[in-house]
Amino acid sequence: MMEAALADLRDRIVAANAAKTPLRLRGGGSKDFHAEALIGDELDTCAHRGIVDYEPSELVVTARCGTPLAEIEDTLAQHGQFLPFEPPAFGEATTIGGAVAAGLSGPRRASAGAARDFVLGAHLVDANGELKRFGGQVMKNVAGFDASRLLCGSLGVLGLIAQVSLKVLPRPYDEITLRFDCDVKAALALFHRWRAQPLPVSATSWHDGVAAVRLSGSPSALRAARAVLGGSVLDTTQAPTWWLGLRNQTHDFFRRGDKPLWRLSIPATAPIGAFADGLIEWSGALRWLHSAAPAGEIRAIAEKLGGTAMLWRGACATTRFHPLAPANLELHRRLKREFDPNGIFNRGRLHPEL
């Protein structure tokens, strides 16, 4: 028996597939900007909500796609647990389905892992309205292809992610943030040195002449790490605000609208030149840049450094996502054709051709 809200969604999908009319899957709508295009009739998933299963000792939470991210985080917090990949909430309405479909991760990504690393299972409603259960609720599971991780970051182009199971972890006992006044090159040098040592680093950033590092762990481990690292301690009200500002992009840096904002995902050790107008996360692997330079130029640099550049906010005559290599695009086309032959799901959202 399918729950009523899910049955409604399924019926709309079946009808759209029969008529070959595109559907635009939408949770809280907080990531409408995170799209190549928004095409089709809106299919609001918010009514299919609620935590289905959560047992703290199993380290797994299972929730329907329309469940607000905040509801899940509050529930986990009551048991001293959290989502270690720190999914960004670009608005209060952000849903867990949207968070998984976007596959974005926050400041803890470089140490704890990405959204996809915590996906244990997912339910998919395909174009025929059939419900498919991939993965499960256990940590180790290699039965069948890892379709649930494939859905993470798929932006809904393969079908409706109706339910997800995510691995959760205990919250760290304690956290402190250290601050270092330095230029960007010195900051990267610090990040590189720390990376190769067993230190409880859980986030790093550099912006405007200040490098910040967050340490997470037991009080004794933090004391020991502090003695090694030096720097000055950011006070306990300032520090969480700083990291939350990066995670949810409420910091002023992300709000400036004068030039397009670019997101460069490149190897952490990639060299850096003039970066006065930028912000760095993930020990150097994520670099944000306001730039009016031609898109082709920025993308060429990112590629040369071994990564990709995405137009995050603002207008620019280019696609948002970094172009896919021809062989990868061909695999995308074939997967899309297999899962959604009529192209009804989020047409053009991930790629103009999908």
Binding site: D117, V138, M139, N141, G144, R149, S218, P267, A327, N328
Partner: protein, 512 residues
């Protein structure tokens, strides 16, 4: 870590592909054509076709399933891998990629009409970057060789499957291998940043890379654990992590298996993620103790090994907390390792459990299900019942921290009917795993071994989705055909129904 039901080879023909669409012309003619095609792209020493040369490749670590391959290619370069794939694609010859051949589910069992593509000669560490903490390696590099090469920099590669001395990184990628430390450090999928490989038509694909994410669908995650059905990997970029300063282990005895299982849940509920959390039942400790003298409490119904690693301060805090939780959970004896030598001694029994099984029994059959931790005790009780039903002994070693079970069913392949009983015993365990909300394989893969159990875990719609993914990568079904995903016909033949997690209590599981 082989199970050794040698000589108990059963009719493998039911495992034959229905995915492959290879034209079936005369075997000699096919061999001639393939040899012609491959001799253009491979040096003569890289192609084996005689029975005496190809027979060593007839099975992997699951030796109950054997098949002498049509031919074996051992390319020495990436370009040769590409050319071999192109040739096989043109001729519609099935290709079974093979790493070190240590897999336990028959994933590398050859195809009667196919080529075994061994990646063993691609065994170079191409680059080790101690600043980026990454290693770029060819697929034939041994798992342990990566950590050995990284050791001078204070780094290591975290996934440590029990076969790590021999198993290859390419095989680890194919199986999404785990190990004893994955609760804290993750599986292969969490420790691979990128890979390069070829689809069956010889098209090069790069998935992921040295950056932490890439645009588009996560084909990297899809490729890892795909058991050689989607592409052949020729290069892997691995994440290396700093070696912890210190590790200590607590060895705790319990007078009841259910209490031991509950203690595992209690540790996690206390907010602790141990570096390793393993459980052995009395039959397992009794088997290993005379063999390794690890100092196990032979009066205990179960023992737990809980390891903490990190800085001196972290480990001191965590070990104290683990000990407190274990005592509160009813442990009758808790011993904390006081030196590295003692820590290794405590682990030696666990690490030698499989050879110990081989010592006390002519053959053993290693299972690999995963269940929610809270059901560990219940599963052990059920296995006791199954021992009576099948009149076979089973010793249990569990990666308890992540609910991953390795029951070792002891049998004698030379006794008529014992292998068949062991096989059914194993299938029962896996069905119970599914019924308890778990899975039929935690880290060994489906291969040919668990095709039947796949029918229990997945409904036809889900299996069709797996075939859809397969078609997107390999429309002709030439890469490792007949493995990992059972066809409808195969499931009909298996005759057991799809069990939805929790839908059927154990007592009602269908038996045939």
């Amino acid at each position: 870590m082989n199970s050794r039901p040698a000589g108990s080879a059963r009719d493998y023909s039911i495992m034959n592909p229905s995915v492959a669409t290879a034209p079936r012309y005369d075997a000699d003619a096919r061999r001639f054509v393939l040899r012609q095609a491959l001799s253009d792209v491979l040096p003569v020493q890289c192609l084996l076709t005689g029975a005496e040369e190809t027979t060593p490749f007839e099975c992997d670590g699951l030796s109950a399933f054997r098949q002498v391959p049509f031919a074996v290619a051992l390319p020495e370069t990436e370009a040769q891998v590409r050319d071999v794939l192109r040739a096989c694609h043109d001729l519609k010859i099935p290709v079974v990629a093979r790493g070190a051949g240590t897999g336990l589910s028959g994933g590398a069992m050859p195809h009667a009409d196919g080529l075994v593509l061994s990646l063993a000669k691609l065994n170079r560490i191409l680059e080790l970057d101690p600043v980026a903490c990454t290693a770029r390696v060819e697929p034939g590099v041994r798992n342990l060789a990566v950590s050995e090469a990284a050791a001078p920099h204070g780094l290591y590669y975290a996934p440590d499957p029990s076969s790590q001395i021999a198993c290859s990184i390419g095989g680890n990628v194919a199986e999404n291998s785990g190990g004893v430390h994955c609760l804290k450090y993750g599986l292969t999928v969490h420790n691979v940043l990128g890979l390069r490989g070829y689809t069956i038509d010889g098209e090069a694909v790069t998935l992921g890379g040295a950056a932490l994410d890439a645009p588009g669908l996560d084909l990297l995650a899809l490729a890892i654990g795909s058991e050689g059905l989607l592409l052949v990997v020729t290069e892997v970029t691995l994440k290396l992590i700093p070696k912890p300063k210190i590790a200590q282990v607590v060895m705790a005895s319990f007078d009841d298996v259910v209490k031991a299982g509950d203690a595992v849940a209690a540790i996690v509920a206390a907010g602790i993620i141990p570096a390793g959390l393993e459980m052995m039942d009395r039959k397992a400790t009794a088997a290993v103790e005379p063999f390794v003298r690890a100092g196990y409490d032979l009066n205990a119904e179960a023992i737990l090994l809980a390891e903490s690693d990190g800085t001196l301060e972290e480990v001191a805090d965590e070990i104290a907390e683990i000990e407190r939780v274990l005592r509160a959970a009813g442990s009758t004896q808790c011993i904390v390792s006081q030196s590295e030598a003692e820590r290794l001694k405590f682990w030696s029994g666990r690490k030698n459990a499989f050879p110990a099984a081989g010592r006390i029994s002519p053959d053993y059959y290693c299972m690999d299900g995963t269940i929610p931790r809270k059901h560990l005790g219940r599963m052990l009780r059920a296995i006791e019942e199954m021992e009576k039903k099948y009149t076979l002994r089973c010793m249990n070693v569990f990666h308890a921290g992540d609910g991953n079970l390795h029951p070792l069913i002891l049998f004698d392949a030379h006794e008529p009917g014992e292998w068949e009983r062991a096989d059914r015993f194993g299938a029962d365990i896996l069905e119970l795993c599914v019924a308890l909300g778990g899975t039929i394989t935690g880290e060994h893969g489906v291969g040919v071994e668990k095709l039947g159990s796949m029918c229990v875990q997945f409904a036809p719609a889900e299996r069709e989705a797996f075939f859809a993914i397969k078609r997107a990568f390999d429309a002709d079904g030439l890469l490792n055909p007949g493995k990992a995903i059972p066809t409808l016909a195969r499931c009909a033949e298996y005759g057991r129904m799809h069990v939805h997690a929790g839908a059927l209590p154990f007592a009602d599981l269908p038996r045939f």
